[in-house]
Symmetry: D2
Subunit: 368 residues, 4 copies
């Protein structure tokens, strides 16, 4: 850890800084610099981050800056960027740099008819995975909160009918086991990105996880949330950008697409983009889904409803089944340009060298 101090820092303050270093198992030495400054180097950290020591050091009188080298989130940094989501019946889907994942489905699981219509259209259009909410986080306690277990079982059955793997959100640590038994991938929603008990529980459940970014979360916070999931044992994790809170009262969220390449420099975890929640507006979903491909995303997730004006949640952003063909055509053309496939793979793949992404930029630098 390296501290930059003002030059005037006197003897007693230096001594107390040295004592702080010793208590943290380090040795402190001082290097004079020009520009009215002194550098204090706290050796002995063995490349381990120590955010609490950094916070304490910032309290020291005359400290202008604290720089802490070292890996802060080792599992996120080292994560393999490809994995398969394999349904019990049907075709597995590979997340990662080779394939492009297209997840589609209704916001909420409502009734069997609607779900069947949507799922059939989703499969027909060539999407590779089905989504649908059985547990819905709703701002007001009086809004429709999903059909719960019953909805999940319906979703499972319909997904099997159309032969697609399925992802669904879990809200409550006490539901994780049940959800993990009935869906192929568990989603942690944006509002729960820092629900740490849920992150740990989901990470330990043995299923792939889709972690949505919180609406006001930084890139570092998203990566730290991912670290919780990986730390609990998960080996198949994808991140999802779904728009951040902005200042324009007439628009829903701001789709922060540049986080896709920015994440790529920090981790190999696949990054999915959700243009439906990000824009809240059906007419914006197609252009932003296309933009996501061009920005380098590993997949998109869109909401579809066969009768939006009857939808029980989020109707304004739902695509119609009739929109899916246009979206599929556009995605396939762009995915091809990116030298990826929007394809249903025929057998389960395991992460192997061929689908591994190149080491992240940071690692490349370090190995040279």
């Amino acid at each position: 850890m390296i501290l930059v101090l003002k030059r005037g820092v006197a003897g007693p303050e230096r001594t107390s800084l040295q004592e702080l270093a010793v208590r943290a198992g380090r040795v402190c030495r001082f290097v004079p610099a020009s520009d009215d400054a002194v550098v204090a180097i706290l050796d002995g950290g063995r490349d381990r981050p120590d955010p609490d020591l950094a916070a304490r050091a910032r309290l020291w009188p005359g400290v202008m800056a604290v720089v802490e080298p070292g890996e802060e989130l080792p599992l996120t940094r080292a994560a393999v960027g490809a994995f398969a989501v394999a349904p019990r019946h049907g075709r597995p889907v590979t997340f990662g740099p080779r394939d492009f994942v297209w997840i589609a489905g209704p916001c909420s699981v409502e009734d069997p008819t609607m779900l069947g219509e949507v799922a059939t259209a989703v499969a027909a259009a060539g999407a590779t995975m089905l989504r649908g909410g059985a547990y819905k986080p709703r701002t007001s306690p009086y809004s429709f909160a999903g059909h719960g277990r019953e909805g999940l079982l319906l979703l499972e059955r319909v997904a099997q009918d159309v032969g697609l793997p399925v992802v669904s959100e879990v809200l409550d640590v006490r539901d994780v086991d049940f959800v993990a038994q009935h869906v192929d991938m568990l989603q942690v929603g944006a509002r729960n990105m820092q629900n740490f008990p849920l992150l740990s529980e989901v990470g330990a459940c043995g299923r792939p996880v889709l972690l949505k970014r919180g609406p006001a979360s930084t890139l570092d916070e998203l990566l730290a949330a991912a670290e919780y999931v990986l730390h609990a044992g998960c080996t198949s994790l994808a991140l999802c950008e779904r728009g951040v809170r902005g200042f324009d009262p007439n628009r829903r969220n701001v789709l922060d697409l540049s986080i896709v390449p920015a994440l790529r420099e920090r981790t190999n975890l696949p990054v999915i983009v959700d243009p439906s929640h990000a824009t809240g507006c059906r007419s914006l979903v197609l252009p932003m889904a296309k933009a996501a491909v061009a920005a380098g995303a590993d997949g998109v997730m869109v909401e579809v409803h066969s009768r939006p004006t009857e939808a029980l949640s989020d109707p304004t952003q739902a695509l119609l089944p009739a929109d899916l063909d246009e979206l599929g055509t556009a995605l396939r053309a762009l995915v091809r340009l990116e030298q990826r496939a929007l394809a249903s793979v025929q057998e389960a793949v395991t992460p192997d060298a061929s689908v591994r992404r190149e080491p992240a930029a940071h690692d490349r630098e370090r190995t040279t």
Copy 2:
């Protein structure tokens, strides 16, 4: 529900809008207006909000605006604004318009010595309630996450020693029962403001609740979260502003003090202000605590640590025990100006007419 439509809305679209109204148990009639507009009135809602119908109506072609009268959050609107937090041993504290609540204590429960030092100083300075975190939500899984149950038991014991009621955060629905047995008031942290299962569990536990506003939550979202807690049965709820996420990279959060009077127009629930998390900076805590009183807050909550440079979390914002006297003096002078008391009451009070706040502005209007 009232819709403003563009004038060009044609017969078939009007018919389908009428069908939508019928399906929702309402009757739709059209009123021509100038300015290229038509008003559609959906009668029959009996003053109940129907956010899902509103969302569907917004989808209709040519709809320019949807206005939905009626109470959206009846329990938050009707809540009584005063309640007592009564410790098993010691003096109860009254939240509400008459008394001013001063909560102080360490960010985390660390060791018995530190906690004892801080609690003693807090009581001596005249604070009316102790705080301390046993379960700590931390961005990184490698940060100190609190001492858990053991920390809670220590907190309980020290609080009894100094004779103050105690508030502590709970993160996990599975811990609610345990926490409720050992503290006098449960805190829902900012990151969990929309953790709906936790809101319901905490609201049903029988203890007073302190609900912190999420760092990017709107006033309406905060009130809707409060409605969850009240809906679960809670009758003693206070809200807490603790700063919102801003755009200035060199400052921690933006303390949104004007939410205090803005909340007052919507609910009688007491509003506490936390200037420690809001500013992240010890030197800003005193002026912002004072500003909170002047803005009409019902209390403040500040962090204190006897040796901040050894603190295991959030050291930069902790006051020193020596700061408490100055803060207490300043608070008392301001509280007096507001014709309130910063006082330890001598016996348990129950919410009665004398401490009830005047009905909120909105209600006053409606009764005239």
Copy 3:
């Protein structure tokens, strides 16, 4: 104008509302609605917006909502979406739905060598327009603020050498005439988006204008700023998204790409995207430029420097000349998918039917 009132609004208040209407040249009538509401219709506005009347109406006791139909920004709504920027020597560039504009060049005009190197590389890579700042808005008065008139003359000469039209920023109303004499398109920078005297002056100068969105401006504010420019007489205006202020301290701005299709529903004005300022980071420019094409932008503007580590401003975001070929190849492939051309047209075009965009969605609705 349509007001939704609470039902309890009494006689005297109704009378005073009618008087307000009369003073504004309107007639007020009341329509009872269910849900505890009354609708007040202020006829007679002849489809003209009256934001000041709306603001006054909002003050009336019991007003729940004010909806004002009508065109608020008629020139922005009616603007033709295509125009040519024609240099005195060289090939004109067409902004609009048919062609895709690629603007590139250094942040600042520095010395002739650097500028010549960059301009040559820009032209060779197939970019269609040159950029360069002679007047630089800088946060600190001690930063390099551009070479002013001298820099502008150098820019003009180099642009002629490489045969590209050139765009450059103007900061001061007193410089508008001079800048208009020497560049082909004037840029209003993000910090000046609401510098209304400058908008009017630039709009009246007879040259095409590139208006950058302010870093915290809403879509409506951007359109209103455009209305100022058009109102002053400009007939060749393009808008530019360059990132908005976000909350993540480790990232520069948030590129709000979804404003591209959102603007499309409100105006035909061409929309350019600047991924350099938006991301502040060289490695993110290429993916976000690609995403801009896929989102439907009419052009991109990127910064290039031949020796970024010697750059006098914004070095971290500058592409190297060597990056331009990769960017050009990527842009051309994507532009082709969008059925546009990234082409230097051979003669000056005037806006004609063939390059006009379809009327915006809102207009289409109104004509049906």
Copy 4:
């Protein structure tokens, strides 16, 4: 300047970094540190900031952090924190730590009757300075933009009638001379905080200046804007917080009160708070004006209108004349607690030792 590099930085990169230092007139030396790091110290900067060198250094491969000691904004740091605003006829007002300034008046100068009513009420209530806009920045070109020169002359006359000094906004560099002849203090509005030509012109006009913070400006940007004004020669500058853009669609701005004590640690310039624009809501003005005093502000500025429902701009936030007595009483009580005076001083004061604020914290540290 101090750089923290990754340890792996090799010989050629070190050489090129040394060359960069030499070109900037500095000498570079390397100090090994543990934790996979190296410190590079660029001596020779003589405590002068060099933001462009810092930006270039950040581009170097393997640079993890750049810390630049030294004064970035010397005039803002050294500014004297007290000055008088002296009208030609009437009582001067002192800005600074001793007195508390209360500015009040209408948003816009409308007609003589209204302005006279308001000014009389303002003076009678004990406010110490009059405000009123003759040049109004308005988002739309169709909104009332003020009466210009005529309005200014009216304002000047009415201010003399009531014997108060007057502050008014200037938007256009070409109006600065005229405005400076007719008002006692020039205001730079929030939208123009980074209109650098205007800052320079206003700073050179010889009158005191009130600089409002931009709605999305950081503390550092506000100080840098202040530096522009001081750099142009201004010796009487006050800053004004007026709310920042937030994410809540139902509220106007977020009053960022904690910037008041945060600014105090960086500069002695007086800080005024404008609760009217910050909240946009009459009922919130009083509590937030009170909070401003308690937070340590040096003054408040509030909008008043005698007939808000006829106001030509911003009616929702205007206080009524009848509100001024309550506000004055509340301010006086709080100002007294802060050991200041809300008083009209009897003669012109010049900044002298008795009204100087203690050196800012940073300076104190440096002198010890």
